[in-house]
């Protein structure tokens, strides 16, 4: 047993993050008979998974029997603009149905078809109705199901515990982490044979975001510092439909299910403008008249898809362009209208939380009035570079799954593919970590020097009398990233962002915190800011280097996709392993796609 001056725990598999991926990984490792611990920054059941609304994509073929994994694979790769790790997209498409069915054994209650199967709904970029769902609260159903399963298995969960840094053994394997309890501010060390990063996203670095306070990219950052690589960090998904008014809820998500269920986008002139924004890649499968599009909802063979259901990057850019052209709504968005197209009863049954959300927060009745919406920072496609089969990183003992991992979604994620990503690769990460532990190659020793250094850094803000308020630094960072590394980017602004990030690094070194260590949000934020800066920097570096537009990365100065840039991911590594260490960026070639899968992608439709 390591001699730690702090509260110390030992596990076979330690999972950081208790959202869908973390909980699914825990179930898997636990079923293998290993000792499993889960750490979460919040209470159990509050992770960002709860915010997912529309559903989880799985080609079960319950609504359209033509659907199968090959179509799902194709849709995912095309939606990702072919920057995906093809093997992840393939495994995801093949395994998602089993992972969804499995949830029913654990208590999930999905909406049903008339013959009693799991009902599936239409979503952007998916050729067939494919999303298993529960009204518009599918994420809640997923997290509650996994949470209840984990609890019934007797797994240790450390709630409101913030991990500062990963810790290695003497040979460089990951051997655990150092954290603190938010309620008491006391430090705690965790020794583990394998660690799974399942910390979710990083959207809190932007001003208008659907992400909660937790989305600070802790897992992205600590994996990079520990020696892993981050890929595709420039690929940020701006969800087309976030609320824009009142200002206090700007960025709050409006589910794509509104459009899947018949909602359309209109500009201030009342025009369904998406017909003007159909890229060549999607023209063959997209309706070219309102009449054709409207027939499609009831029968997918009667017409082609409405352009409102193009992949999210396409729709977000179109909205951005309409607003810039002066055809926006009074509060700087566009109109999303379902009230004039579907009955009030249908809307309240299919979209209950959207109805509730607009009624309570904006005083808008969506069964009769249009919603005002605009793009909001929602999801990071980029993340820790992992092996598709095992979720292993290049650092022994370190695994990653869910939004924190990169590769699965390429340059743009399709709606509904994230919940299924969590359960497919959560399970694989649990298996991968378990197999690693069982191989006997796991870490021996625990570097207390790394612990001491992390603790010292975390406590520094208490010692500065005249430093800066962490809230001021966070607000300025969010405004800077929104302005310079937002939905539309250009070289000069990215250069500016990189210079400004150096300034932010200095400001973070000069933070001061008032009060004590027990449940002190100011201090908690001070310890999140290094992660936010690491994410912001890798995003800006990637965005600067990728001189083309692809998926969730749009360059005003390079508006087209460049086939040369479609051959590699930009992979970042830390030189030094500290949060302020220099970062180098390399070109990592994409995996070659086998011929039989290539054929699926090249089919005309």
């Amino acid at each position: 047993m390591t001699d730690s001056p702090y509260e110390h725990h030992q596990y076979d598999v330690l999972i950081i993050g208790a959202g869908g991926a973390g909980l699914r990984a825990a179930i898997e490792a636990k079923q293998r008979g290993l000792k499993v611990g889960i750490i979460t920054k919040s209470l159990l059941g509050k992770a960002h998974t709860v915010m997912a609304e529309g559903g989880m994509a799985a080609a079960m073929g319950n609504v359209y029997s033509e659907d199968n994994w090959m179509v799902h694979f194709r849709d995912t790769m095309r939606g990702g603009k072919m920057l995906n790790n093809y093997r992840m997209a393939e495994l995801h498409a093949k395994e998602a149905p089993d992972r969804v069915w499995e949830l029913e054994q654990w208590g999930a209650l999905f909406d049903r078809t008339t013959d009693g199967k799991i009902l599936q709904r239409d979503f952007g970029g998916h050729r067939y109705a494919r999303l298993a769902h529960v009204g518009d609260r599918t994420g809640l159903e997923l997290i509650r199901t996994l949470q209840q399963k984990v609890v019934s298995m007797g797994t240790d969960v450390f709630m409101e515990c913030k991990v500062l840094k990963l810790v290695h053994d003497d040979d460089g394997r990951v051997a655990g982490c150092v954290a603190y309890w938010r309620p008491s501010g006391e430090f705690v060390t965790f020794e583990a044979k394998a660690v799974i990063i399942a910390t979710g996203g990083a959207g809190k670095s932007w001003k208008f975001t659907s992400n909660s306070w937790e989305g600070t990219g802790d897992g992205h950052a600590m994996a990079l510092w520990a020696g892993a690589q981050l890929i595709d960090m420039e690929c940020i998904q701006f969800h087309p439909t976030g609320m824009v008014w009142p200002l206090s809820v700007r960025g709050l998500l409006v589910t794509e299910g509104v459009r899947g269920d018949g909602g359309v986008l209109r500009n201030s002139e009342g025009q369904r403008f998406m017909f003007n924004y159909v890229a060549d890649m999607f023209r063959a499968e997209t309706a070219d008249s309102e009449d054709e599009a409207d027939k499609w909802y009831d029968d997918h063979s009667a017409g082609r898809r409405p352009p409102e259901l193009l992949p999210r990057d396409e729709v977000a850019r179109a909205i951005n362009t309409e607003v810039k052209a002066g055809r926006g709504s009074p509060h700087g968005g566009v109109f999303l209208d379902i009230g004039s197209r579907r009955s009030a009863e249908f809307i309240r049954r299919r979209l209950p939380s959207m109805y509730h959300q607009f009624m309570e927060l904006a005083g808008v009745d969506i069964t009769t009035e249009s919603m005002e919406i605009g793009p909001t920072c929602h999801y990071i496609m980029g993340g820790v570079k992992v092996d598709a089969e095992t979720a292993a990183t290049r650092v022994a003992g370190l695994f990653a799954a869910g939004e924190a991992a990169g590769g699965m979604h390429g340059a743009n994620r399709l709606g509904g593919n994230s919940l299924s990503d969590l359960i497919v690769f959560g399970k694989r990460a649990g298996e991968g970590a378990a197999a690693y532990v069982e191989s006997g190659e796991a870490a021996r020793g625990f570097n207390m020097g790394e612990v001491d250094e992390a603790v010292r850094e975390a406590l520094e803000p208490f010692e500065r009398e005249h430093g800066e308020n962490p809230y001021d630094v966070q607000r300025d960072l969010q405004e800077m990233m929104q302005a310079n590394v937002g939905i539309i980017r250009t070289g000069s602004e990215l250069d500016n962002a990189l210079v400004q990030l150096d300034g932010f690094t200095e400001r973070v070194k000069n933070l001061a915190v008032k009060g004590g260590r027990a449940y002190n949000p100011g201090w908690n934020l001070a310890t999140d800011l290094p992660s936010m800066l690491t994410v912001s920097r890798t995003t800006a570096l990637g965005a600067s280097d990728r001189k083309e537009s692809r998926g969730g990365h749009t360059r005003d100065d390079f508006p087209k996709a460049d086939p040369e840039f479609g051959k590699f991911n930009l992979a970042h590594s830390s030189n030094g392993g500290n949060w302020d260490s220099p970062i180098t960026t390399d070109r990592a070639p994409l995996l070659a796609i086998p011929e039989e899968l290539k054929a699926l992608l090249e089919e005309a439709k």
């Binding site: 209470l43 059941g45 949000p521």
Partner: protein, 259 residues
């Protein structure tokens, strides 16, 4: 932009009191926005829980002007004129400021016998919408624990927590009992271990539920009826004596491979 006076309880387990902050307030803001502004300016160490800020995660439960509310869904312009009083939930021990120790709820959740479904057929289970809807109502629960906070059985009687689960877990048991696939039986458990009989259906829980779940009518009363049927029907009593099937741990029972 107008100014508003916020009376916020600050302190910890050893004691505390109200502090008043006069702070600006913008159109359309909710209580959580104003709390965040206080944190960002005057009191960065003001402790509160929050996550989604959209009424979906149930983290930011407090008492606003004495009533359990989610801070993220309570609009400032719908509160009465005058100072707004914000206090932590009363039924749970204080950690700091507006944050309480809700571990009672997590401990209770661990005790509930899990779903026990039959093996899954190839292609998944068949269930019908009308049958899943009963459970779906209860699965809307966001675990804000405001129903627990307002329930007088524990709000005013700390000692009852040892043998009373509270409304949140009555709907959880009701959901499992009404689950189309479940074969477990929790009727004795809910009577003996969860203290269902203590509830005298005053419906306070139903009134505060932000998801508008009919906790009393659709969960607690049907559960009480089931318990009564099981315990005071002589034929059922005899049947129970002959064949008892209560599985209290699902750890081995619920592990089944996917197809």
């Amino acid at each position: 932009m107008t100014d508003v006076s916020m009376r916020i309880w600050r302190g910890d387990a050893t004691g505390g009191g109200f502090q008043t902050y006069t702070i600006s307030q913008n159109e359309g803001e909710v209580v959580l926005d104003v709390i965040h502004r206080i944190q960002a300016t005057e009191a960065p160490d003001l402790a509160c829980r929050w996550n989604c800020k959209a009424g979906k995660c149930g983290s930011c439960s407090v008492e606003i002007n004495g009533k359990p509310r989610l801070m993220c869904m309570t609009r400032m312009d719908q509160l009465p004129e005058g100072p707004v009083t914000v206090t932590p939930m009363k039924a749970f021990p204080i950690i700091r400021d507006l944050v309480t120790d809700v571990s009672f709820n997590y401990a209770m959740a661990e005790k509930i016998p899990a779903l026990l479904p039959p093996p899954m057929p190839v292609g998944g289970y068949r269930m019908f919408q009308a049958d899943v809807e009963r459970g779906q109502e209860f699965r809307k629960c966001i675990e804000c624990f405001m129903c627990q906070d307002v329930c007088h059985v524990i709000r005013d009687h700390e000692e009852n927590k040892a043998h009373y689960a509270g409304p949140r877990f009555f709907i959880r048991v009701a959901e499992l009992e009404m689950h189309p696939l479940d074969t477990n039986d929790r009727r004795e458990f809910v009577r003996d271990e969860m203290g269902l009989g203590y509830c005298n259906i005053t419906k306070c829980c139903t009134e505060v539920c932000p998801e508008h779940i009919h906790i009393t009518d659709n969960a607690i009363i049907p559960l009480k009826e089931r318990v009564v049927d099981a315990h005071y029907d002589p034929i059922a009593w005899l049947g129970r004596k002959i064949k008892r099937r209560v599985i209290t741990s699902s750890a081995d029972a619920a592990v089944q491979p996917a197809p």
